[in-house]
Symmetry: C2
Subunit: 273 residues, 2 copies
């Protein structure tokens, strides 16, 4: 049973000259399986397509990607994860994108993550990372393969009781977690950082934003200073794999699991099979 | 004749789970061969070692790297290029660096680049890129694999008569070329941008800085606004492969090939076999 396909074939290697390896010249999606089906696949595909457009290469055909993701999902635990990497392809030496490169598709299957299920109900501990996110509007929002900032931030702690680290930009604005997006709630109004300078616009963030609108919650996408995060009565983080994690400990104090996170968790459970 | 080795073996593929591919979690060096020997190898090795330290993993043994670079050099044209990529190694899914990862070494040989040799004597045309460099002191200076900014900047033009593009940070400071470092000369004083927030500290830049000191030139490593570049009487760019390219056209005006670039070119020719 192989859980790895490269350009449609069962394989677990990529050519050394691939631009994904040499420059991080590509994008990825981490898709949660629910009952064996890729959850939020259309949202993942939309973000991937937008990312390819931003980087300036043609996204592989949606039907092709979907078939390959499903074929790996079929041999992966039904609550597992399928990761899809799309790079610009192989291309010699030098930054200039080759006119003729053919994008590389890499699909791998992984078991369900080993997070404590109590984190979903009781909340997580969130810390603040000292590694900042650099600002670059041309790279902001998309899920490209240049992830050293997240790697360095995630390497800042080894305490397994701390689930996530909050990353700031150089001016002290909260942007996102190393692998999640951040939401604050106060008086029925939801706020989340704008991601036009740095950060990744998560698929679960997109779901929560839509969901909040349909629930009639107030919604603000804007600058969020760290001080505001520290003072927020309710915090939660989101990602496509874990869904919605309330934050129960942040910056030395404890927070209650708030009603908005719970309403959104219920909406998530109802939204997808 | 194979010009590709992966972890010492003749191979041209890398495992799909390598963190170099998934996150750009690694470093590289592009080494020019002169008479079949890797030019400035100690400088490349020093930068690579510093990069590994910054990213937090052990650099492979110098003797091992040197032997692998030389073995690929032996089957590469004697004026060609050997590229060395070192990643943190293979490591599942997730940003957290695995405690047990073994770094991956990828060494590839390439022919001499096809640049017009007249560029070295007569100078190049340099343009200004609209893609900015994001600031992040933890990633500045080292030659890591997160190179999407350079890829996007290099994709801004296709005119082969323009050799290089100058990249700025968001505040309009000149930082470096897409694949080179920038020097300005005025009244016998050399200036080059500081690289503690963004940019790559090139091996040839290091040579030029040392050389300028031993030639008794004034030397300033500091902020360099674009306006100062536009007004400079002499400009040149440097990289390990091409050496020193005078700039003869920039921002709509022509510049003479200056005496300082020529002195440094002579010093470079004398310095290495």
């Amino acid at each position: 049973v192989s859980r790895c396909r490269v350009n449609g074939r069962v394989a677990d290697t990529v050519v050394a000259l691939d631009r994904g390896l040499n420059y991080g010249d590509g994008l990825f999606e981490t898709v949660r399986l629910v009952g064996g089906a890729p959850r939020f696949w259309p949202r993942h595909l939309a973000r991937l397509t937008a990312g390819c457009e931003r980087l300036g290469f043609a996204c592989p055909a949606a039907t092709l990607l979907e078939a390959e993701v499903q074929s790996v999902a079929d041999v992966t635990p039904p609550d597992g994860i399928v990761k899809l990497v799309v790079t610009r392809g192989a291309g010699g030496r030098g930054y200039r994108p080759p006119a003729t490169a053919e994008p590389t598709r890499i699909v791998t299957g992984h078991g369900a993550p080993a997070y404590d299920p109590a984190w979903t109900t009781g909340g997580i501990a969130l810390r603040v990372c000292s590694t900042h996110l650099g600002r670059n509007p041309r790279l902001a929002g998309i899920k490209h393969l240049n992830r050293l900032e997240q790697v360095l931030a995630r390497a800042e702690w080894t305490d397994d009781d701390v689930a996530e680290g909050l990353m700031l930009d150089a001016s002290g604005l909260a942007i996102c977690g190393t692998q999640s997006n951040l939401f604050l709630a106060r008086d029925g109004v939801l706020a989340t950082p704008r991601l036009d300078q740095c950060g990744v616009a998560g698929v679960m963030r997109g779901f929560v934003l839509e969901c909040a609108r349909s629930l009639g919650l107030g919604l603000e996408v804007r600058d969020v200073p760290l001080s505001e995060v520290e003072a927020a009565p309710e915090l939660f983080v989101t990602n496509a794999v874990v869904g919605i994690w309330p934050v129960s400990a942040f910056a030395g104090h404890r927070l209650p699991v708030g009603p908005i996170a719970q309403r959104l968790q219920a909406a998530l459970a109802a939204a997808v099979p």
